[in-house]
Symmetry: C2
Subunit: 498 residues, 2 copies
């Protein structure tokens, strides 16, 4: 059964005095009015961490009551930072089943009321426990991904910074036009380079902000101007060190393959996209993973203006997570709201895209391990589906066999990527150097060193000494001093002496 | 599209040393083996509060990875304490849509590792904020419901206690036969009356325990012996004081009406049921709300043996939440596992029911405000569905108009129901008297008084004085002293002087 979108609504994103349920109720009221519905058959509500941000359980029922829809079935759905897309997917199936006709889909998060270190700690709980215990945050892992990308495609730190700045500048420009955006101001490359370092090489302007906000859509099996053409969803390893590649996300590629196949559309059919730019480089990786550009060529598209709002393939016309803001549970659904506005031709002056019949949203859960791709299309676009159709999209899925032997407690290794984290979570000293080290036996480990305070002290790919301190791997540069330590306790041949 | 259950699995419930993901993986492995499936199209995982019990976000993706199903889409679903039924419903729609063929449904909770007062505090977050701030816990609210039921149907405290004891004795007997149950021991009425008071009149043996555990089923659009015949889901007001009746749950009745209608079955067609007995009286209310017995007649069914495992309508042959245990997120799905075992004739010696072709599960979310009713049936039972069929079930849905005027800051009222809570949550003094007071203007308020330590000091329906202390309503019995206080500050005519 086809599923259509009959209503949309959202709050302006930003710092809000309103409670989470007030914001959701506001977004819901707009969407219901737009859909000309008073009652619905069910409510699906996406919120990532209402327990710790707000201190509530049983939020789905509370929300139905708050909306004046007491009695209506209400279910909470969560897929980490892709929750807004996850709740959309879940509600899509419910309507597609034929058992429910009209469904209200809501997504929101309330984040700005807590101290930043606490918010950072809560957000870090999406990271694998074994890596989180080093103090790794989302910006820290994204920074290590960014460093690796730079190395893999031969970009100097200066060059890499210029590219990231261009993403930030583009998305802030787009956000300046969007009445729902948290930051409605343009920035210059100079502003970017002056912004504070969060986790080297990522600056404040590389990272999506902490935001309050809510979005809503009404799905229906009755007809409407916009329909859901394709949905794909995939997971990946919980630990980033278990990935074969850091510069591309399997979960995006698997999800995209499913979405293109279901929609019977190719990457080249997509006219514009909302791509999960929680960190500037993630937009570039996203456009490569989605098959818009070859691996490593996403940078070029940013430089030559392809992805600008006036470009051939506008990416994040809304301003993206970067500038619209990122209330974690809400963002995935806010992407849909933007796409639907564009498809309906209601985006407004200066923002409305010319080609807007097919749009795609990509949402990332956690550090790229619960990703969802959704394709929306105008329902007046006539085409017929063909049994057994296959898209012109053949992504390479790199899979690393997980470690089966315990990694060595001591030894040498190569610093595969690193960051120096300045905005540490509750309970961790700042700054904190974190690295992914490929140990001599081939296993990868997360390692830290609070003594390296300047990223210039470290180098991608350099040899390091690994040791265990208080249950955590410590990495140290090879110096006469670490060599002396190694000489002091000559290791037996096996690594597995721990 | 019809949806069948091709595999089931669960861990033994109880206190476990295993992590939440280990328990879920164990249950999943059993269900997948039973279904003869290695891969599935998606995973739906129900867990009520993984954030606070375990400290994880992004748990759905972690779980896919833990199961060795890295890549498979994974979504977390939550509806408070009915989460196990909520995730089943959500996955049902996904399979019914035709987009997914085989889906793994998991539900679990890890609770026993935390101090009881902390667990109590976390569990209390399902209660409306405005009532939770009084220190109200789930047992406290259930105790007030129990008191009200006793009053409404003219049961003396002694008589009421005897009936509750019979529910506990029955469910412990059933649990003693169930290899998955937390408590595999029979109890006597004497054991019941000797057990400690949790929240007057509810004793330890009235309350489901704190439990670890996980359950799993595989849903498929391919054929299998058991199929899903009906699902209904409904919410109710968040605050209990906004309900017109405390002795019956609208959300069960609305959910049951939908489930019976979808299944085209009447209450009299149900051969056995798993009913959410988080508190002994809830089983009795459940059997009334589901249309098995008239309001107030559920007690009789307990007394005359109708609901015993050898009775005409066995209720909770598994031992129920009371004796099988209650890992909050898991219980709703554990009910399904029990029903499927019974339908398949695999419940085992002494436990297998004779009539086991149609079973019903009722699960309660929060204090009866996110309830789900599911009807499962043997697929070899041939019958044809009729367009427009209506069940022989016409529950009375009592709805109270919510307060629109602010309740009075001071005044008199009637103590509609009360409890003395002994097991208080973190941060509250024990014991603590809590009451629902109907103020003179008609509005109901939650109120407390830490000075009444003995329930015998209070009486259902008695006149009390209401005042405000530190932002909370305090209730006091009418005495010469409270009368003097009132005389001291003669109120103006309007209640709304605050």
């Amino acid at each position: 059964m086809d599923v259509f979108i009959s209503g949309i609504g959202m709050t302006r994103f930003g710092k809000s005095k309103d409670s989470l349920e007030k914001m959701l109720a506001d977004a819901a009221a707009l969407a219901l009015k737009d859909a000309k519905q008073e009652r619905v058959d069910a409510i699906y509500i996406g919120v990532m961490n209402v327990e710790e941000f707000v201190g509530d359980s049983n939020f789905a029922a509370l929300l139905a009551d708050t909306l004046g829809l007491t009695g209506v079935p209400s279910t909470r759905v969560e897929t980490a930072s892709s929750t807004g897309a996850g709740v959309f997917e879940t509600a899509f199936y419910a309507v597609a089943s034929g058992h429910l006709k009209n469904v209200l889909v809501l997504a929101g998060e309330k984040m700005t009321h807590l101290p930043t270190a606490k918010t950072t700690r809560i957000l870090s709980e999406v990271i694998d426990r074994s890596e989180r215990r080093y103090g790794a945050t989302m910006p820290a892992l994204a920074a290590m991904v960014t460093q690796k990308y730079g190395q893999e495609y031969g970009l100097s730190p200066q060059r890499l910074g210029e590219i990231l700045a261009q993403v930030a500048v583009k998305n802030h420009y787009n956000g300046s036009l969007n009445p729902y955006a948290q930051f409605r101001k343009e920035i210059t490359p100079d502003d970017y380079f002056k912004s504070q370092m969060v986790s080297y090489p990522l600056r404040l302007y590389d990272c999506a902000p902490i935001t309050d906000g809510a979005s809503a859509v009404v799905l229906t099996s009755g007809s409407a101007l916009v329909k859901v053409s394709g949905i794909g969803h995939a997971t990946d390893t919980s630990a980033v060190r278990h990935r074969a590649s850091l510069t591309s996300f399997n979960s995006t590629k698997e999800a995209a393959l499913k979405a293109y196949t279901m929609a019977q559309l190719n990457p080249s059919d997509i006219q514009f996209a909302e791509v999960h730019d929680a960190f500037t480089l993630f937009e570039i990786i996203g456009t490569e993973d989605l098959g818009f550009f070859e691996p490593g060529k996403g940078c070029k598209a940013i430089q030559d203006g392809t992805t600008q709002i006036q470009g051939v393939l506008p990416i994040n016309p809304s301003g993206g997570l970067k500038s619209r803001g990122h209330p974690v549970g809400a963002s995935g659904l806010a992407q849909m709201v933007e796409i639907i506005q564009q498809l309906r031709g209601e985006a407004g002056k200066g923002r409305q895209l010319e080609k807007s019949e097919i749009g795609l949203a990509q949402s990332i859960g956690g550090l790229g391990n619960n990703n969802i791709v959704t394709i929306l299309e105008r329902s007046d676009r006539k085409r017929t589906l063909v049994e057994g159709w296959k898209p012109d999209y053949h992504p390479e899925l790199k899979v690393l066999k997980k470690e089966v032997v315990p990694p060595p407690a001591e030894g040498t290794g190569l610093l595969e990527t690193f960051t120096v984290l300045y905005a540490t979570p509750e309970g961790f000293r700042s700054p904190l150097a974190l690295g992914l080290v490929r140990a001599k036996g081939g296993e990868k480990v997360m390692a830290c060193n609070p003594d390296y305070r300047n990223p210039k002290e470290l180098r991608m790919g350099q040899k390091v000494r690994l040791s265990m301190r208080e249950g955590l791997y410590l990495f140290e540069k090879k110096t006469w001093w670490t060599r002396l330590k190694d000489w002091g306790k000559k290791k037996p041949k096996s690594h597995h002496q721990a």
